[in-house]
Subunit: 453 residues, 2 copies
């Protein structure tokens, strides 16, 4: 371990520079103009995996963006750890709010700023660096390792279930190790045992083939922007904040009293939410507290909205159409296909008959709930305590990492969610960052985890 | 008159080519990147006015875009006609829906397609061409003529009231002649005796400084896109389509039974609206028919809406802010300043306390109602019947031409609205056009009107 520690200490600069190179590739999966960048990122990773000593490196095509795979399987009678990460990133919009260019990562006050630093390039890269260090200092790995790096997580991992299904033998493992979440603070690790699923949709409402003059026709024809606003206003009850889609809450797991009590100790509180986001008030489903709402309750949000003239000044038109991106976060035991169907049916039912309504499901993934007494969780607990000084707190997470439910379903394995981000990392926002101290500690945690069997 | 007719016939090609040149200047007043184009259009017009024989040509600065002025005042003891037009145009968005480039005017099947053809370059240009013809064939004009061409009509004529107020002496006239409206059909002229006013606003609702991750915070923080939808849903009653702003209808003139009866003969009917716009159903204020709603009732529309991620694919954020462009069309005797105040107060009152709401008034203009027995209207009636074969029908128009109310207020004169557009010209829309036959007949009407005193 001494030799490993020394190696890690001596290579900090090199690790950071390599990460910066990976971050320089704008692998934005949501925008087709970046298709080539996604491929470049996959190539870069394949080359890098070979360089650090991984074997059987390959870029596997899917119906969407490819999966980068590699393994090292020479640890006889040892468990197999599947390391997952995603090399695609969110769009950097709104660009003008970045203090430094999103794809030229920059260190300021101990933080590395750039798109993908925390979500997820910087985090999964920690595992690559621990594997490199172990192979360099010991010539072998203490466990069998498989690596699966995905390029469509930010799209909702649309083709991953099919990929895993087709490659069950290749991916067979005892546990999956994922760093794509965060800690409560720099000294308080979290262990997430549940994640929400998601159904992400796009709704378009149109009433005529082209925009019309608002003077000539105002007062006589339907306005799609207003109709869409009415439609959105009927998705949630304003007072109770409950989703009004019939059957939406069917099957939602009720927490046991004991679990609610434990969640009271969660790092997700009114105060942390106000601090992290800057909102003046938390707003959520009546009858539940913040940590419950984040992890144990489903919800609905509008992620984008557009209609008519959105430029400078005025344009006196009645728009021909209005669009919204609307997503729902799901909890056990909701089913994404069922929710997608109910959403579509409800939206079509409440839209006016004189409007054409198109509902597209952009992605769907299942919620997951894992058993806390899992033996791999215990190992992670020990490692996190060694490195950060505190035992991790168990939490239900509000975000979605589709792979967790897919692996549970297809391979029957749980995922250890060992995140090294911090709550203020600004995932999906301008000025996303990763704390460098957390990055280096992440590498150490990874090395300790892999040597604990 | 014979000589004039011959001149007009011989110069058709030249008139069209000159108009195409004017149309080639993208004088979009709403977009500051086109500031220079506005100035170019003003310069082009000043040069052209001199060329056709107008005197005292000048480009008068305002706090916004300049007014182009010219006159010819040698007709002793004759009335003075003030010709008004606007040389600014609407944005051509959405560009991809144009069949030919918006600023390279193209003739197809007897129509001239391009931004500004009908609104308003093509229409006011008809008066310039009639004046040119009169001066060329007779060496003088039969009346005194003043020309005022504005560059901010599409912005709501924001600085015109101040300009007229400062230049009362310069602009003094007996009547104003405006071609910025349309006929019911190629053979049925309209005389508009009332126009709506407008208050155009921009509302921004924000809840936090930057977008937040919809997984981590969904269910716990307010969503500005949903809050804005709720706000918009409270502006009009969904069933009755009545505007819910307290005091909105105060002072709205009730039509006399006789006037309602006359409006029943209007060209604005359910059928024409369905034909012209392509909507499946007319939707408007309960208790009123289409022609009333268009000209005699105020209304409210959303002209633009935007929030969060509006690009391709998905981005899992809760937006930090949401914006809407919301405008209200006013009728006599509503007051734009009063409505702007009531709107702002209501919006702030219904917005949630945890949101910051900013309401900006982008423009405001007054509604106008003129007396139909005006002697200049009688002259226009005669001329329109001579050229088109039918007496004009009197109508209340839904659009707004701010100058009409400004001239009534500041100079005490009425405006003859002698429009040569057609209902399907697509003002403010892609593929705006002007029928060439209407353009040439417009020139003839203008010449006949000026020689009728």
């Amino acid at each position: 371990m001494q030799e490993l520690q020394t190696y890690l200490k001596q290579n900090k600069e090199k690790q950071l520079n390599e990460l910066k190179q990976l971050l320089a590739i704008p692998s934005i999966s949501a925008q087709s103009e970046h298709k080539k960048d996604i491929q470049t990122a996959a190539n870069w990773l394949a080359v890098h995996l070979k360089k650090i000593g991984m074997e059987h490196v390959k870029i596997v095509k899917t119906k969407g963006y490819p999966v980068v795979y590699a393994d090292w399987l020479k640890a006889k009678d040892k468990p197999t750890v599947l390391v997952y990460g995603h090399y695609d990133v969110q769009s950097p919009d709104p660009l003008e709010q970045w203090k430094s260019p999103p794809f030229i990562a920059e260190v300021r006050k101990g933080n590395l700023y750039g798109r993908g630093t925390a979500d997820d390039k910087g985090q999964f890269f920690a595992h690559l660096k621990s594997i490199e260090a172990l192979l360099q200092t010991q010539g072998s790995l203490p466990v069998n390792v498989k690596i699966m790096l995905e390029g469509e997580e930010e799209l909702g991992s649309v083709h991953l279930a099919e990929f895993v299904d087709k490659n069950k033998k290749l991916l067979e493992a005892d546990v999956c190790l994922i760093s794509d979440s965060h800690m409560a603070s720099p000294t308080q690790p979290l262990m997430e045992y549940g994640l929400r699923g998601i159904v992400y949709t796009q709704v378009e409402l149109s009433t005529m083939p082209r925009d019309a003059h608002s003077g000539s026709y105002g007062g006589n024809i339907p306005n799609p922007a207003i109709e869409l606003a009415l439609l959105v206003s009927k998705l949630k009850d304003e007072k109770s904040q409950r989703v009004l889609i019939p059957g939406f809450y069917d099957g939602v797991r009720r927490l046991a009293l004991r679990e609610r009590f434990e969640l009271r100790k969660s790092s997700i509180t009114r105060k942390t939410i106000l601090d992290e986001t800057g909102v003046k008030k938390t707003v959520g489903e009546m009858g539940f507290f913040e940590a419950e709402r984040a992890g144990a309750r489903p919800t609905l949000d509008v992620n984008g909205l557009w209609s008519g003239y959105t430029g400078e000044g005025q344009k006196t038109i009645i728009p021909a159409r209005a669009c919204a991106k609307i997503s729902m976060r799901l909890v056990p035991h909701q089913d994404s296909a069922d929710i997608a169907k109910k959403f579509t049916r409800y939206v079509k039912a409440i839209a006016p008959k004189y409007a054409d309504v198109d509902v597209r499901i952009l992605s769907a993934s299942e919620p997951i709930l894992m058993q806390k007494d899992n033996k791999y969780f215990k190992v992670a607990e020990k490692v996190l305590k060694e490195v950060f000084g505190n035992s991790p707190r168990y939490e239900l997470q509000g975000g979605s990492i589709p792979v967790t439910a897919i692996l549970k379903d297809k391979l029957g394995i749980d995922s250890v969610l060992m995140g090294f981000g911090l709550p203020d990392d600004g995932l999906h926002s301008p000025n996303e960052k990763l704390n460098l101290d957390m990055f280096y500690k992440g590498i150490e945690c990874s090395a300790r985890f892999l040597t604990s069997f």
